[in-house]
Symmetry: C2
Subunit: 713 residues, 2 copies
């Protein structure tokens, strides 16, 4: 008895009453001390920090290098005026020492960098240089990453520059701090305390973004509120811009098209009304007085109830061009979203963005970029690439990815999006010719000087771990890396992230990247296999609702999207159906349009297929559907097992959090599987294949589940 | 040039790119290493942690002592089976060693403790003992506090027990994580992830509360939602209860009176309907299956639109007693709020709670407690004590304080509430006789075994610093200390908090407590001097709105409360007016009812006073009003100065945060002063006294200010 008491008591001493630092706040900038051998290898190449320049960005580089090297090596290298052997010399050609090196900076542009092992006065040093201090900042973060990843740094010769001009986060943050589709707490923008108080977290946000090359942030929701454009809010916006500026991050705002009425006192927001144009011009001038490097506007117009130029019989181009004229004198851009669909339009929702925008090609002002979601519906677990990519050769198009997991299980599901995005970026548009990928469309300016870009809907909130889960940090990270270079491999990015986030143990990295890479197919399988999509419950999109058929908009109903009946399932987008395939280049249209070539991934996206259709696997479609749902659940179970085995290698708090989340994911994957099989089974009226269990409850049970307080709605 | 660059660069190295631990998360449990001399004095009395028992609470004691002593002394004392010299022996008389000491535990009750320097087997040890392990837990936190405060611990003989039974936080947290009147981010209850994931923060919440003796928490808003009583939410509630239980904290829920209709499918919620009573009984049974030590219900009924027994022609007592019967078999209580007023009732709002509840004295079941706000209106910067205290001698009354600063400038105003609460607790009710304070009413059971209690509306959210500001932590702390002992001094509590939170330097403590103690009068002066109240802007209560007179409820309008006209200002609550004074005991009524004796603090609360009335200061009322407003602003400026001088003694991040908040407070104090003087001046039509500046803008300017996104609404 007393021995047991003592044992329990000894265990109690291990009870973690104080929360340690290892809670995920540090993100991938987790500068833990290197092993002694590694420190010994690095130290000779980090003897001093040397810069001959002084600007706010140079100061941030010095601070970041000091912090990172200090933490990884045990002590920060001293700042020195001379450049001793092993020094890190950073800056731009404004530094006489850097200028004297005659480095080939010409092709690096404004944001590129060069990291090279050179000799200065006969002493070996590492130079980190850019044409601007922002370039040098990106180089410094790359240099830090090399050390985090255990790469040799004694003979460096790296030159890099971003492939896209605009690399932006889109925050769907409301002014009351609610985040639409946010699963990581409230907005990190504490508008009430701004501008008087600036949370130190804003600086860490800027550091994290700069470390992966993100150079812009849209602060407010695309379902926007004109008040963000009023003087009190512009002062708050300016404060954030001041914090972000030294990190190379420009601030953008979502503009509400009807703002001239709501805050301007005008009677109309007609883009062809001179008073309206003048109001926007004056407003832009006012914004630039507060934020001299303001990036421009993002606009959601005539979409899901938002006001827009069509309210006045004007086109999207007329609306966008009017705004573009207002910001043009200041160098601003207008990002005009192509995510539009109308209930009044009986045509296939998947076709509507293309139908509306493609004919406008060539009519947009040159500082307008059309922002297109990756697929034609809405951030589903898997979609074919959007047919607009390649179809508007005279119009700059930028990609809109969704980092936050609106349709992918929220924060508690482990789903690595690097693979999903890679799939889209590498898709062959065949426009103008075979081999032209979506990435090519994005990073090839439509004319000299035309902007290129990519945006990600942020998954950031005031949760301590930023993204609502440890693994969702990887999606923020992967977005930045792909924005910098859309041809990077999702696998390589996952491995880098894992090593910086969890520790640099090869077995750990291999297990974690394995989980991450399988996670995308897993969620597709347990939610929407074989090209199914939009089966989520109403409004919040949490959990399954394939039976929902009573929403006011026809194209909000899951039954619209899966179109299941006694004969089969799937949305016929071939010539016999909506003919959405015709929006793609002919070779793509042929591949998607034929049952023989479409493949399993997009089968039910493009085809209405009989339940007994024989699949490549040899199974019937119905059997294959069940097998996929079960495979998805099994994959989550496999992730749980893999993760459990990593316990000895990972700090307890983060390990526990991920374990608990995986348990939630498994339960919810099973919920998806059971509810969908119960529902589709009620239509297909076929027995489950052998070895696959019937759902434990009847369909009514799943239909009755309600989640009125699911976040992000 | 290069010298300047080097200097800037050296400064940049100090730039805090990583957020250090010193962000306020640790609260007053900030176990920093003691100075060497102090460590040397403590170590001989902390050589080992010894317990012979094993239960979850004993485990938490061991963990907390280990963590605290480990951090303060450099290494935690080992757990030992024997009790060597200098050991800390903790537990209950279940431990043979503690039983053998024959300690006088008899009068300490279930929650009291004794800390004593004794000898066991001839060796000097410190014993921390209670009749239950919860008592020992409170003793352990007291012991830790002694060390934090630098008290000698070599000859201890402390016995203490709480003066009130129920010491509760009331969370006004909604199920979507919005916190009504919350200024610290979202609710810390992440309902979406519960019960699958329990944020480690829940444990720190429990530790913090246990450390100040709080023993219960109402998880959800009094403006409540019946869904909290459904099975899915009860599972989440149970998870929290499991975490809190070892810390002596019971969980309570706000019950919506109409729940039998909303989630029970009944047609009525009439408390005298047997089906309704049976539904609540079954619901209570269900709750207790999930949470065996569930504390009971808090109810806001027939108040501000909430449903209640009066909807069925039944009394508050009939409603409360029906619920009380449901929880009675399980040992639960019902806390029934007296905060009621009705627009239909033309009588002075300040009188309505008394008018409705006082006649019900003696009609409540014995497990009902009536919960009364500290003053008769609503948590104003200063109110006279509520006339119900002392007026219901047969009914247990508990206090409701508001820790969150709804009417006190939100999180960015430094206002220490210890003084406000002390003022109320020490007020003499003269019931039944002179000298019977509000504290006496609270802590004297109305009959043997009748419950006593106090509740505080929590100021806790998911902000990193818990309370929205560093100094608001002091209000959480002070509430706990006063709940344990309502006779403690606000000054002493402030000093303890300051030393544990900011560091144990006498000059620091003196300066900080000085700021805290002056802060209450300061906010009274710059918002609502001389007994004014409820002048806040509509809805969110942020900033001044003394001119508002168009709200649908008469008694929501500031003009109702200040009643200013050309002749004078103030609400006549004497015999010539509403005669609210008559609700107090005769000596109190006489004092409040006479201009000669009421004093400045409550002058305009009870009297309509001519603008030219000569005040004790010799000034006219109008001049005094202006002087008070300016004095309030000046006090904030003085706080800023005092704080600025402390910079060398305080970590940079927290110092900066408080500095920024004080700057906001000063600006807003001036806003209050200017707006109120502009408005009252437009009515009084008198010149400002010499040396007092006119507001910089006209009244229209202040009236036009809008804050649609102010938090907490």
């Amino acid at each position: 008895m007393r021995l047991i008491a003592l044992l329990a008591f000894a265990i109690a001493l291990l009870f973690p009453v104080r929360v340690s630092a290892e809670d995920g706040y540090d993100l991938w900038l987790r500068y833990r001390a290197l092993e002694a051998g590694q420190q010994d290898r690095i130290r000779p190449h980090a003897t001093a920090l040397v810069s001959e320049e002084s600007d706010p960005t140079i100061d941030r580089i010095a601070a970041e290098l000091g912090t990172a090297l200090g933490a990884m090596l045990g002590a920060p290298p001293p700042a020195r005026r001379d450049a001793p052997a092993g020094a890190i010399v950073f800056g731009t050609p404004k530094s006489p020492r850097i200028a004297a090196l005659g480095l080939p900076l010409g092709k690096l542009g404004r944001e590129g960098y060069l990291i090279r092992s050179v000799a200065i006065d006969g002493k070996p040093v590492t130079v980190i240089a850019g044409n601007t201090s922002i370039g040098a900042l990106y180089g410094a973060f790359r240099f830090i990453r090399l050390i985090q990843l255990g790469e040799p740094i004694d003979r460096l010769d790296i030159a890099d520059r971003p492939r896209l001009d605009l690399r932006l986060l889109n925050h769907w943050d409301n002014l009351d701090r609610h985040v639409e589709r946010g699963y990581a707490g409230q907005s990190i923008w504490d508008w009430q305390k701004l501008p008087g108080f600036a949370d130190p977290r804003y600086t860490d946000y800027a550091r994290a973004n700069a470390s992966i090359g993100i150079n812009g942030t849209v602060l407010n929701n695309v379902n926007s509120n004109a008040d963000i454009l009023t003087e009190p809010f512009l002062k708050k916006v300016a404060k954030l811009a001041d914090i972000f500026r030294p990190y190379g991050i420009r601030v953008y705002l979502s503009a509400r098209f009807s703002a001239p009425i709501e805050i301007g006192g005008l009677k109309t927001a007609d883009p062809l009304d001179p008073e309206v144009a003048a109001w926007w011009k004056a407003k832009a001038d006012e914004i630039y007085r507060h934020v001299p490097d303001f990036g421009g506007f993002l606009v959601k117009a005539n979409s899901e109830g938002q006001p827009g130029p069509q309210d006045y019989g004007r086109s999207h181009a007329e609306g966008a061009n009017m705004l573009a004229a207002a910001v043009r004198p200041h160098g601003g851009v207008v990002m005009w979203r192509a995510f539009v669909y109308a209930n009044e339009n009986p045509d296939d929702r998947a076709k509507q963005a293309y139908s509306e925008f493609q004919p406008l090609d060539g009519t947009f002002a040159d500082n307008v970029i059309v922002q297109v979601k990756n697929g034609p519906i809405d951030f589903q677990p898997r979609e074919p690439f959007h047919p607009l990519f390649g179809a508007m050769p005279k119009t700059p198009l930028m990609m809109e990815f969704q980092i936050t997991k609106e349709y992918l299980g929220f924060a508690t599901h482990l789903v690595y999006l690097g693979g999903l995005w890679e799939e889209v970026l590498r898709a062959d548009t065949h426009r103008p010719r075979a081999g032209t990928t979506v990435a090519d469309v994005l990073d090839t300016p439509v004319r000299a000087g035309a902007p290129t870009g990519i945006a990600g809907v942020a998954n950031i909130g005031n949760d301590r771990n930023w993204s609502g889960s440890q693994f969702d940090q990887a999606n923020w990270y992967a977005f930045g890396r792909l924005a910098w270079n859309p041809d990077e491999s999702g696998h390589a990015i996952a491995a880098d992230w894992s090593r910086m986030t969890w520790g640099d143990d090869p077995a750990l990295t291999s297990a974690i990247t394995g989980m991450m890479l399988r996670s995308h197919q897993a969620v597709v399988d347990y939610m929407t296999p074989l090209g199914l999509n939009h089966l989520m419950a109403t409004g919040h999109h949490y959990g399954p609702g394939p039976w929902v058929d009573d929403l006011p908009r026809r194209d909000w109903n899951p039954t619209y999207f899966h179109d299941a009946d006694a004969a089969g399932i799937g949305f016929d987008r071939t010539r016999t159906g909506s003919n959405a395939v015709a929006q793609y280049a002919a070779p793509v249209a042929r591949r998607f349009g034929s049952l023989a070539t479409v493949g399993d991934d997009y089968l039910l996206w493009f085809h209405h297929v009989p339940w007994d259709h024989r699949m490549a696997s040899g199974r019937t479609l119905w059997d294959e559907l069940v097998v996929r749902y079960d495979r998805g659940v099994a994959e989550v179970a496999a992730m749980q097992q893999a993760w459990a085995a990593l316990a000895p290698k990972i700090d307890a708090r983060r390990h526990r959090e991920v374990s608990d989340f995986l348990a939630i994911q498994r339960e919810e994957a099973k919920w998806w599987r059971d509810a969908c099989i119960a529902y589709f089974g009620s239509i297909a009226k076929r027995p489950l294949p052998a070895g696959h269990a019937a759902p434990p409850h009847d369909l009514q049970y799943y239909k009755a589940i309600r989640h009125p307080y699911a976040p992000g709605n």
